[in-house]
């Protein structure tokens, strides 16, 4: 099952065990009468956003431009998304989750290193990462975008998974949230402050993270 479901103005992610809900959703939402939403229009819009971001840059990602590129009425865009940030988010979140999900490694250090490599690749080189950085940027001066972003903690979630797997939540001397900040923070800062991502050494950063935890344990 590859379908996604959505509700008006919210973004619902792909989830295997959601099939049943989807049926209910559709029935509830569609509620008796009315032309059903055009799946074609929806995907055309999401693709248009992706394409525009890649080809023309963030400045060209415009509600008007999206509609034009998607061959869709402007009203249709506004009907389902309030801001371009919402479209951008929905268009990139699936890719982002995939790019940030790393398969487990035997060694905890390898595991964390692999994750940091993925994180760097995502933030510095991936289109989805570019969208994400743009959204983080907007969030700094737009409360609506900030709320949108906080509704789905992409980076935090992905880091939590890896940390739990590599360290084990029971072994953590600090709350999981703070651990994610220690793991992600230096890389996040390095890239968002415009520094060269090639100078980052994932394995060293992973080691730093482990040393932190060990030092905190021995207190």
């Amino acid at each position: 099952m590859v379908e996604e479901t959505w509700t008006r103005y919210t973004v619902s992610m792909y989830c295997e065990d959601m099939e049943m809900d989807m049926h209910m959703d559709k029935d509830r939402e569609h509620g008796r009468g009315g032309r059903p939403r055009s799946e074609q229009a929806r995907t055309a819009i999401l693709h248009a956003v992706d394409d525009l971001l890649l080809e023309m840059g963030y400045a060209a990602v415009t509600m008007k431009g999206i509609a034009q590129r998607a061959g869709v009425s402007r009203q249709t865009v506004y009907r389902w998304w309030s801001h371009k940030a919402e479209i951008l988010f929905e268009a990139s979140v699936i890719d982002a989750q995939q790019e940030l999900a790393v398969s487990p490694a035997a060694d905890p250090l390898d595991d964390l290193t692999a994750y940091l490599e993925a994180l760097i690749r995502f933030l510095a080189h991936s289109p989805a990462g570019a969208a994400y950085r743009a959204l983080v940027g907007e969030a700094q001066h737009d409360a609506a975008v900030a709320k949108l972003l906080s509704s789905k903690d992409l980076l935090g979630d992905s880091a939590r998974v890896v940390i739990e797997r590599a360290i084990g939540e029971g072994n953590l001397p600090i709350p999981l949230d703070q651990a994610t900040a220690l793991l992600i923070g230096p890389t996040f800062f390095w890239i968002l402050s415009g520094r060269n991502a090639d100078h980052l050494v994932p394995r060293e950063l992973a080691k730093d993270f482990i040393h932190d935890l060990q030092a905190r344990l021995s207190h």
Copy 2:
């Protein structure tokens, strides 16, 4: 020499021992004849930007709005600054530097803790910090702003000063730049990703940083 040029002409900091330079500057720039630049207009614009950002939020910071608020012609704004990012930067950089400069403490841990407290205060609560976060945001999808920001590494510079003072450059097992990322990163990520700054514990973060360095040394 403490001065740096990053606007079309010159950004003059308010340092007493700079008067002479300014004279020279003026002479050089001014060519022969002509009305000199109005210092009154310049400060009015910078104050207008500050005020607008505080009172009306980032959305109201508009070239048009700035000019109106400053009681200045739109042309006069464009004559001296290309983007609103430049004005915002110039308007907040002095405050930022002051807020990020902490007086030395006896103990390295106290020193670092004091710095992190200042950093948190700056990023999470200060108007200048709000401006800085907005600029970092813009930089994610505007190369010009990115270049502007990288011309004056506010956070990096301030951290470097403290690290050198607390640790000593000779004692560092890693390049200074990477050390700043370890120190700043977690806080930077925490705040820019919209988390509650009150949950940060500066002293623990400072300890983490020191442990990192010690662990690296013992390798």
Copy 3:
């Protein structure tokens, strides 16, 4: 036969002795099978137009607004009327005919005066008259509305009846059509050009009309 067709299907007046026709109409239109047209929807729409015109003004008379107000689907409106002019016409024509029909008076001058009074009341103060003026307005730049209006010469018909009764067609020195223009024209112009209807003196206008005819006779 009192019925006239001018909409796509049929405009049915509310006359008791028309029931049979309606039945026939329905049968004819209905073909075989299918849900019959909802009389409820039809009257709801006509009433909605009336109400909107009165309460919100002509600008609010919108196909969408009519449907909403009538609690009816947009499609249902379009199914039976092409333009909003058609609905407006159908909604006001009955009222208009009643308002323009004056009971005979003993004296020709009284008869004509009574008619002109009704005409002024209709054009200047009646809701149906407002609708009619709006339609005349639209007709100036919309051929379809012009054709619609000319299909039912409300003013001309009502004037013809009165003139025939007061003067007698045999006594007319000019064609009936031209006589109606002489009778109606000054009032029509006065009101449609935005002048104050209170300044009109129906009895004097009636006298003018009679003098015209007498002068023409004596030639």
Copy 4:
């Protein structure tokens, strides 16, 4: 002197003895600073309205369309005119005045006949007349347009001139305004109600008008 003057959002007509005022107007309006209004843009817009009305009909006369056709920004149109009715009015009023001004004839009957011929030509066949009819139409359901039209009584003014010349105001048994309604009314009604203008006989209408006045005098 062929220039016109204008003030913001109002229409000022051509007037010989206005030269002096114009100077004052320009000085006053332009009031110290600011780029002066582009006469080129203004005439381009007025011509565009004329052209669109002729070529594409009233439906195509759109603020957007006008701007596009005139090669002018939309904002520039809105800066000087609120409604498209204002532009239409300003664009056609000069032509209208010229078309409705008839040179005096020896005989009063000839004078009035010539005027009615001009009136019929204007209302039924002239582009300026088409614009005028459209405006009268809009005025029936738009108070702003009604006010605009009443600010310059095109038809009334032209008729008054002729009546005064042909009859003499002293000889009128009724107010001048009412006389104009008697003269214009029948023709106005005939054409605006969609009847064939060729069936009008100006000389007979002129006679009717004269007979009216004579009959009123002899009371």
